[in-house]
């Protein structure tokens, strides 16, 4: 538990340094995706379910927030809880249908539902703006300044991470892991496996939707690609590349993913190929993600220090 406290302290320090090194909006975007990746890891790393449809919740959160601002000029204290509540409901329904099936079927269902919501968003142009995206999502006055907005996001992100940490440390978190390790045994010890999976799915959906709602404020537009399935792929990518075996791994993954796609795209137009190759290599040789690399390096250094 003390180590977690250090990790949070380190995160807080990094969050304070980030806007000095990066443009505040980009730093904010990284933090938003850090929330999404950590939330995804609750399903993937803790519960052992691979969802290829997290963009559904991200997108729906973003659209809710965008629409409430554009049409009603609603205040944030109303928007963010609404986005969360709506995504709890949505993840409840989608999750209920998906957890009936296991393994591959689960993955394909999440993926197909994602695609369904994408096409709804895409076709329902009067509501979402379709291909053109939903424009005119103005931040409230006190968040107009990018630095102020970043600070707001950073505080929210830390709160979200703390909440999610709390959840994975709670009995629920342990049950998620039990279901991941051995669903039959978990059932035989008195736990409703589908309910536990569903809970995990809903928790992740809620936080992902929340992040989406904040994302809508970032550039003042909700682009339709916010809900496209390739974004779900990106989210899985971030989670795995950081390391799904560790609570904080996906945070590193989000930073790395955005950093990598930004840098590589400067040098080569075919940069998604590099992303693909990195991803393939991680899957083939480095399933623990960056966290595993760091742990190995730390191990070597400790051994060397002990030896010297």
């Amino acid at each position: 538990m003390r180590r977690d406290r250090y990790s949070f302290l380190l995160l807080a320090v990094l969050a304070i340094v980030a806007p000095l090194v990066l443009r505040p909006v980009i730093a904010a975007e990284i933090l938003i995706f850090a929330i999404v990746a950590v939330a995804n890891n609750i399903i993937l790393g803790y519960t052992g379910l691979l969802s290829f449809g997290q963009a559904t919740f991200f997108g729906v959160g973003a659209y809710i927030s965008g629409l409430m601002i554009v049409h009603w000029d609603a205040p944030l204290w109303l928007i963010l809880p609404t986005a969360v509540a709506a995504n709890v409901l949505l993840a409840g329904v989608i999750g209920y249908l998906c957890v009936q099936r296991i393994g591959l079927y689960f993955i394909m269902l999440t993926f197909a539902f994602n695609q369904m919501f994408y096409f709804i968003a895409y076709s329902w142009t009067t509501l979402t703006g379709g291909e053109d995206g939903l424009p005119g999502v103005q931040r409230p006055e006190w968040l107009r300044d990018d630095l102020a907005f970043y600070t707001f996001v950073a505080v929210l992100a830390l709160i979200c991470l703390a909440l999610m940490k709390r959840i994975v440390d709670s009995p629920w978190g342990r049950l998620f892991q039990a279901v991941r390790d051995n669903p039959d045994r978990a059932a035989a010890t008195g736990h409703n496996v589908r309910l536990i999976k569903l809970t995990s799915f809903v928790v992740a959906g809620a936080f992902t939707g929340f992040a989406g709602a904040v994302y809508a404020l970032l550039y003042g537009i909700v682009p339709v690609d916010a809900i496209y399935w390739l974004r779900s792929g990106d989210i899985v990518f971030m989670t795995l590349i950081g390391g799904s075996g560790n609570f904080f791994g996906p945070v590193i993954g989000a930073v790395f993913f955005i950093w990598l796609s930004e840098t590589v795209s400067l040098f080569w137009n075919r940069w998604p190929m590099i992303l693909g190759i990195v991803f393939a290599l991680v899957v083939l040789f480095l399933r623990g993600g960056i966290v595993e690399v760091l742990a190995r390096i730390a191990g070597v250094m400790r051994r060397r220090r002990d030896a010297g």
Partner: protein, 408 residues
């Protein structure tokens, strides 16, 4: 060990400071250098045009040797990914790290509108070339400029020219790409058709990225139209044309590609398919003016296949050209001054005279209508058609939705 750590720390600190300096948003710009960002789609749905646009912009900059009067020009590019999220992030990043004051591109309207917001927030001049009328309409602002013809102008020109060619045609069937751009063109065609003695007998909206048009085609064929009027673009238009041909509907019935990329689309269609087509486009490479001639020559040298430029590279060229003009006229890299210098100005540009309307930043410029050549008439694989009409009739004021262009 300790020494290494200390050195490591110093290095980290140095890097952090350096990054902080370059990355910090409120840095004074270097004197009289203007950085222009070409935000092109190298990946995503419009990955096909990104590289072409990059070449187009380069030609414009090379022609002036990267100088606009006394101001040095620096050209940087970023991948817009045809995604609003990525494009806005890249624009933000480039504004910060490259001190970009001028953005040109991207290709897609949706992404362009998002980037327009970034330009407005960061007080950066933005020239755009896509189909949306919102840039100079509902969402106009002082920093955003539209180079493409107004959709009203375009539809008026196409309908007029089609009428000249087909005196007896009355009944139009519309294929409309289902997004804001498609709807506004559909609206204008509906309003303008009666003026030319025609009527819209049916319209089908299809999603962007549609590749399977047979069902729409059968529906259209059932109505027995005098012409198929397409309001779609790029691969959608190409796929639709190809399938219209395989169903035998064209060339029996004329096809109107009302807002076409020109060369880039026509080159994908076999000559048999494009033998009875009216093509409306923002640029065609036989445009008879000195700027265009020089551009075509320079572009074909740079293009791998030696193809003439279509809408996309021409747009990129022209966006760069207009930006350069603005800076040159201002005589300084100051963005606000550049904007003031181009507002209301007339520029001899790629498509002829381009007048930048001060009230909504819409360019009043010629729109081209071609008639394609049959395989027999064609003088080679790149001889697609003849310009039969150009028009720069501006959109009636009462239809423009730009209420207030705003302040600098």
């Amino acid at each position: 060990m300790a020494r290494i750590t200390r050195r490591g720390f110093a290095a980290t600190a140095a890097v952090a400071t350096g990054a902080a300096v370059t990355g910090f948003p409120y840095v004074v710009r270097a004197a009289e250098e203007a950085a222009i960002l070409g935000l092109w789609d190298f990946t995503g749905a419009y990955a096909d045009v990104g590289p072409l646009m990059d070449v187009g912009a380069q030609v414009a900059l090379e022609q002036v040797d990267y100088r606009a009067g006394d101001v040095k020009l620096r050209y940087v590019t970023r991948d817009g990914e045809t995604k609003a999220g990525a494009a806005t992030r890249r624009a933000e990043e480039a504004i910060a790290s490259e001190k970009v004051g001028y953005i040109i591109g991207p290709w897609s309207s949706g992404v362009g509108l998002a980037v327009s917001e970034v330009a407005k927030n960061n007080k950066v001049m933005h020239w755009f070339s896509g189909g949306t009328e919102d840039i100079s309409g509902k969402r106009c602002h002082r920093y955003g400029f539209q180079w493409a013809a107004n959709p009203w102008t375009a539809m008026d020109a196409v309908l007029y020219a089609f009428r000249q060619q087909n005196a007896n045609a009355r009944r139009l069937y519309l294929f409309v790409a289902d997004y804001a751009f498609g709807w506004s063109l559909e609206k204008y065609v509906g309003n303008l058709a009666p003026k030319y003695g025609m009527e819209v007998i049916g319209a089908d909206r299809h999603p962007l990225g549609q590749r399977e048009f047979s069902s729409y085609i059968l529906k259209a064929a059932a109505k027995n139209p005098d012409a198929v009027f397409m309001i779609n673009f790029g691969l959608d238009a190409v796929s639709a044309a190809r399938q219209l041909h395989s169903f035998g509907l064209i060339p029996k019935v004329p096809l109107i590609m009302s807002w076409s990329a020109g060369v880039e689309e026509l080159i994908q269609l076999a000559p048999e398919i494009r033998s009875n087509v009216i093509v409306g486009t923002n640029y065609y490479y036989t445009a008879d003016n000195p700027v265009s001639k020089a551009f075509v020559e320079a572009y074909r040298k740079k293009d791998k296949q030696g193809n003439p430029p279509g809408y996309a590279p021409a747009a990129a060229y022209s966006l760069a050209h207009m930006t350069i003009e603005a800076i040159k006229r201002a005589g300084t890299a100051n963005v606000q001054k550049a904007i003031q210098s181009i507002e209301g100005a007339e520029v001899e540009g790629l498509v002829g005279t381009i007048k930048v309307q001060a009230s909504n930043h819409q360019s009043i410029r010629p729109y081209f209508v071609l008639k394609t050549k049959t395989p027999k008439e064609s003088q080679g694989p790149l001889d697609f058609g003849t310009i039969i009409h150009t028009s720069s009739t501006p959109q009636p004021k009462e239809l423009n939705e730009c209420a207030d262009i705003g302040k600098l």
